[in-house]
């Protein structure tokens, strides 16, 4: 630590630091099945008829960091800050361990300048600009190695005893793993007007992340399904504005409104694999997200990541309603009905778009059918206090994103199974005589003959925009001046999620079923919706 003042106008403040962070993890695992008596629940694991051995595994990741920071303040108005850090991580092989991350920032307290000091309009003004680099090493340990471990099951000998131990590699080593780095430029203004009655912040940024660390799908013919790797570059740029205004502010009445809006646009700038032919998209550099589910429905990826495009676009079949009659059925270049899986589509089936015009609906007709990235997110609210009453509320919303409502792949077809479907899939199913304008395919779809009901298509991609009244609260402070033993008595009624405006047909547009997985974006797969809660409270202080 170093502090020094030079005369009246110069102040320097410098810090150097060294950081060592080591975690030791030891895990032991034991499992059993085939219990003769289950009444002890988990505590009775030693009564299992069938056990795996105790599996012990330990990890000891470490990070070493050297940090230096210099702060220079000039005339109390100009503030310069410079930081440099060097981080070493045990998660990377020797030679790739260290990352160096400088950052600089500058702030100017403009309101301190003499020409603004007495301004009636501008009461506070601060201008900020900065550049910084950061690193990310958040991956599991030992991915740069291939550890060999036993399989959880043992191997049986000729007599049926599991006496042999098989040892196999656990993952494919990536010795080239290194820090994911990002650099960011940002600039912003903080301002206050009319004696800070109106305050606000405007920020813009440009962030470029390179060598993203991802568990990346690779050809399974390598013997492995994924590898942790530094894959590609992404840029994010955006602008954020927030404003707050005290419209009225006196002893009896306080009225405030506030709001913010932000817009972010991301783009995959580099993937770094060769180009390949993908569906109807032609020759592009891309990779797919993870399969949405491993079960019966949606056992395919929903997202595609294409160089030069936004992340996680939806990829599947484009459709145009239902095939209503024979004229539509044969409205193809060849005059024959389109085929799916070698079988003719019929009147009443979903009308798929044959992108390449070859008469077959197949892999080559898949295209971009949606974008899970919103145009902007916003919120606004207000608070009002009048004497002992106060009322506040907050709206929030998202605009311009799509949601893959994966539930509809199961629920959107009246397919003659015993499972539940949505009402409309049956009541508004196409029927040539009774419901010729039905928007769902005919009853029995997928039962006999052609079955396309498991294909991801734009019928399940929905507009995810919404506006929600996320919070309202009303307080009343009961006057207690006359009651000596009570300090305060407050009555509160508040509600959350009271009102929602959206076109989305699922339970709740504000969902992301696979928030933990950057390779499954914007998918609603039976997510639990936000609850509506109403709380009545009485707060007494003695």
């Amino acid at each position: 630590m170093y502090k020094k003042k030079f005369g009246k106008n110069h102040r320097i403040n410098a810090t150097a630091g060294f950081l060592f962070d080591k975690t030791t993890i030891e895990r032991t695992r034991y499992s059993g099945s085939d219990f003769s008596d289950k009444s002890l629940r988990a505590n009775g694991i030693s009564f299992a008829g069938n056990n795996t051995p105790l599996i012990i595994d330990s990890e000891a990741p470490a990070i070493v960091s050297y940090i230096g920071r210099v702060n220079y303040t000039l005339m109390n108005k100009y503030i310069f800050t410079g930081t440099i850090r060097a981080d070493g991580s045990s998660r990377f092989a020797k030679g790739n361990r260290w990352g160096y991350f400088p950052a600089f920032s500058f702030a100017w307290k403009a309101s301190e300048e003499s020409f603004l000091e007495n301004s009636k309009i501008i009461s506070d003004l601060k201008v900020r600009a900065g550049y910084g680099e950061v690193g990310n090493q958040n991956i599991p340990n030992y991915q740069f190695l291939t550890p060999f471990d036993r399989t959880e099951a043992s191997l049986s000998d000729a007599d049926g005893n599991g006496s042999l131990i098989p040892v196999v590699p656990q993952n494919l080593a990536n010795p080239d793993l290194k820090w994911e780095t990002a650099f960011q430029y940002n600039a912003g203004i903080d301002f206050g007007l009319f004696d800070n009655k109106i305050t606000g912040t405007l920020d813009t940024y440009y962030k470029s992340s390179s060598d993203l660390l991802l568990n990346f799908p690779i050809s399974a013919s390598s013997g492995f399904a994924t590898i942790f790797a530094n894959v590609g570059d992404i840029e994010n740029k955006g602008i954020e504005l927030s404003l707050s205004a005290d419209i009225i502010n006196n002893d009896d009445l306080k009225f405030n409104i506030y709001g913010n809006i932000s817009h972010n646009r991301n783009k995959i700038t580099k993937i770094g694999t060769p180009t390949g032919n993908v569906g109807a998209l032609g020759n592009i550099v891309s990779y797919f997200g993870n399969n949405v589910s491993g079960g019966t429905h949606f056992k395919q990826p929903a997202n595609i990541f294409i160089e030069g495009e936004q992340v996680g676009l939806f990829y599947g079949y484009q459709t145009q309603g239902i095939i209503k009659d024979n004229a539509q059925l044969t409205n193809t270049p060849s005059g024959n009905p389109l085929q799916y899986g070698g079988t003719d589509l019929q009147v009443g089936d979903v009308n798929f778009v044959d992108q390449n015009g070859d008469g077959n609906i197949d892999e080559n007709d898949k295209t971009i059918i949606g974008n899970p990235n919103p145009d902007f997110v916003y919120s606004f609210g207000s608070s009002l206090e009048y004497k002992n009453f106060s009322l506040s509320f907050l709206f929030n919303g998202v605009y311009g994103n799509d949601i893959a409502n994966s539930n509809l792949l199961e629920l959107g077809y009246a397919n003659n199974t015993s499972r539940n479907i949505i009402k409309n899939a049956y009541h508004n199913a196409f029927d040539a005589s009774n419901n010729p304008n039905g928007t769902y395919p005919l009853v029995g779809v997928g039962g006999v003959g052609v079955d396309y009901t498991r294909e991801f298509n734009d019928r399940v991609v929905e507009n995810g925009s919404f506006l929600r009244l996320s919070f309202v609260a009303f307080d009343y402070k009961v006057p207690v001046d006359n009651i000596s033993y009570i300090d305060q008595l407050k009555l509160t009624i508040s509600g959350q999620n009271l009102w929602l405006l959206t076109d989305y047909s699922g339970f709740d547009p504000e969902v992301n079923s696979f928030a933990f997985d950057p390779l499954r974006i914007g998918i609603d797969s039976g997510s639990f919706p936000n609850q509506r809660t109403i709380t009545v409270g009485l707060n007494v202080a003695f």
Binding site: A62, S90, P147, A153, P166, S221, S222, I227, K299
Partner: protein, 560 residues
């Protein structure tokens, strides 16, 4: 001033030591796991890696479950209730099928482990070098033989993958068959003789048996009268790793080696192969068998769960089984019409759906294999004794199928079964030999091989039955009849052992279509289209399975 300096120096030294010590901590390697070098530097370590090859081969993603869940229904001979496999059940497999996806990975995991063993063991001079390499080459051939038949062209990996080599283009069928043949020839050399190594592991004649099957497969594909439109035969001259003048002759040579020198024999009765308990493991008939048993809480072999109907008394009471894979109705009907001794003359299928359609067999007459292979008519639930009607007593609904009876396990605990999976047994070799002999010299010299199998089939613990009667010039008069009947005979003998998908296709599109037509006729006869069963159409594309979408989207050298 001086003291201050010493303090500074001491402080600096201390700080350097701390920093040095801390930076050393960045060197972090797994404490409870091995490195590749460690595994392969000792004999014991090598054995664990060899075990690893079997563990992958017989794991859930390959022979343990996925292969059965996908291939049995997709053979056209079995019905499956598994919804996630619906496309394959309709004989219209798509490249997103979950079983296909996992199976593909499971197969290449096995290959990667095998290639690791070959790379590290070759030339290491350890005592188990030969046996380990022999097993590795043998298993690699077994996996690629599966792959080339299932997919046609696939990436041919002969080295363990590294980060640089994750993408690999497909090889031609010639290239794949060349590797299979050269691996099996190496294995025939390196594998131990009987009794020299761990019991239950393949001995050198297993390699000859597989070589025989490989040659029969290539020869049969080439000589098919109707072939798939893009079929590219592998000719004798394209096999560069061996001098081959004729595939049939070469097959005969290998199979003959197995028959005359292998020391295998048929079990006394057919029932011996399927007896409940450990006694039916690794019989004298077994050539290659996957060893399953009490191996922990991870399900590896799911055969019991997959094929035994719920609460059937051939498994322990109360254990959870699904019985989701069942032989198609015509599979049972064919066996009855052929070998029950009951009179169904002039009928293509046995009638079903009424009490009077119950099949009652005369043990002195009927083929004993029928009762060993099938659960039919009805059975009583082990939990409450209530009867469940099935085919042919029942003809409609979810239960209207026969079930397989081969896999019994009264000690089944819902996880582990002590039933092995038989990859190849001596009867298979004898039937292949009969097929080969018929192609080379006609039926006269081929009868004895089939008749060895049939004679054993007639033998029961209490006597002999009339059926299946020996083959002779009276009932199988010519080469063409023999050729068709020998494949049918394989179905009766090997039903439920995983051969159907391959046997349906290895004689070309013509025979595949014939068998599918027969199935379709059964669907019409039993009026079961759309009611659990399907008419199969456009089957030419089903000669091979599609390469999974996940591989196409990740492997830069593969587009379809």
């Amino acid at each position: 001033m001086k003291i201050y300096n010493i303090k500074t120096v001491l402080f600096t030294i201390l700080l350097s030591l701390i920093i040095y010590g801390c930076e050393n901590q960045l060197e972090d390697t797994p404490q409870n796991q091995f490195t590749e070098v460690q595994v392969f530097s000792t004999e014991e370590g090598v054995e664990t890696a060899v075990n690893g090859m079997y563990a992958q081969l017989q794991g859930y993603d390959y022979y343990g479950a996925r292969m059965r869940l996908l291939l049995w229904p997709h053979s056209g001979k079995y019905q499956s209730k598994q919804g996630a496999n619906n496309d394959a059940n309709r004989l219209d497999a798509v490249n997103t099928n979950i079983n296909l996806d996992r199976l593909w990975l499971g197969m290449y995991q096995t290959l990667n482990q095998i290639n690791l063993v070959i790379k590290n063991v070759k030339g290491n001079g350890l005592k188990n070098e030969k046996s380990s390499l022999g097993q590795a080459y043998f298993l690699r051939a077994v996996v690629y033989f599966d792959m080339v038949r299932m997919f046609g062209e696939v990436p041919l990996r002969t080295e363990p993958a590294t980060k640089q080599t994750t993408n690999l283009a497909k090889s031609t069928r010639e290239e794949i068959y060349n590797l299979i043949i050269s691996d099996l020839k190496l294995a025939a050399d390196l594998l131990p003789n009987r009794g020299e190594y761990i019991n239950g592991r393949p001995i050198k004649y297993a390699a000859n048996a597989y070589l025989g099957k490989v040659y029969v497969t290539i020869a049969g594909e080439n000589s098919a009268t109707v072939k798939a439109s893009n079929f590219d035969p592998v000719t004798e001259s394209e096999i560069t790793v061996a001098t081959i003048t004729n595939f049939w002759e070469e097959a005969k040579k290998e199979l003959n080696t197995v028959i005359t020198q292998g020391g295998y024999k048929l079990t006394t009765t057919y029932a011996d192969l399927w007896a409940e308990g450990v006694g039916s493991r690794n019989t004298e008939e077994s050539i290659f068998e996957l060893q399953y048993g009490i191996t922990g809480v991870v399900r590896t072999n799911d055969i019991i769960r997959d094929v035994v109907p719920a609460n059937h008394p051939i498994v322990a009471t109360g254990t959870r089984t699904f019985g989701r894979i069942r032989p198609n109705k015509e599979m049972f009907s064919d066996h009855i019409i052929q070998y029950s001794g009951l009179n169904f003359s002039g009928q293509s299928f046995i009638p079903a759906g009424k009490g009077s359609n119950i099949i009652t067999l005369d043990p002195a007459v009927a083929d004993p294999r029928i009762d060993e292979t099938f659960i039919y008519n009805a059975y009583n639930r082990s939990t409450n004794g209530k009867a469940v009607n099935i085919f042919p007593r029942l003809n409609k609904g979810n239960n209207a199928y026969p079930h397989l009876k081969k896999y019994k396990d009264l000690s089944y605990d819902g996880t582990n079964t002590i039933n092995n999976h038989i990859m190849m047994r001596f009867a298979d070799v004898l039937l292949l030999m009969a097929e080969v002999e018929n192609e080379i010299n006609g039926p006269a010299t081929a009868y004895p091989y089939v008749n060895r199998v049939l004679s054993r089939a007639r033998t029961t613990a209490t006597g002999t039955s009339v059926q299946p009667a020996d083959w002779s010039a009276t009932n199988i008069p010519d080469k063409d009849t023999f050729r068709e009947r020998i494949l049918k005979e394989r179905e009766y003998e090997l039903n439920g052992e995983g051969h159907e998908w391959f046997d349906m296709r290895r004689r070309g599109l013509g025979r595949f279509q014939e068998q599918v037509n027969h199935h379709n006729a059964a669907v019409v006869f039993y009026k079961s289209n759309g009611n659990r069963d399907f008419i199969f159409e456009n089957i030419e594309s089903e000669i091979y399975l599609p390469i999974p979408l996940s591989e196409i989207t990740t492997n830069t050298f593969i587009n379809e």
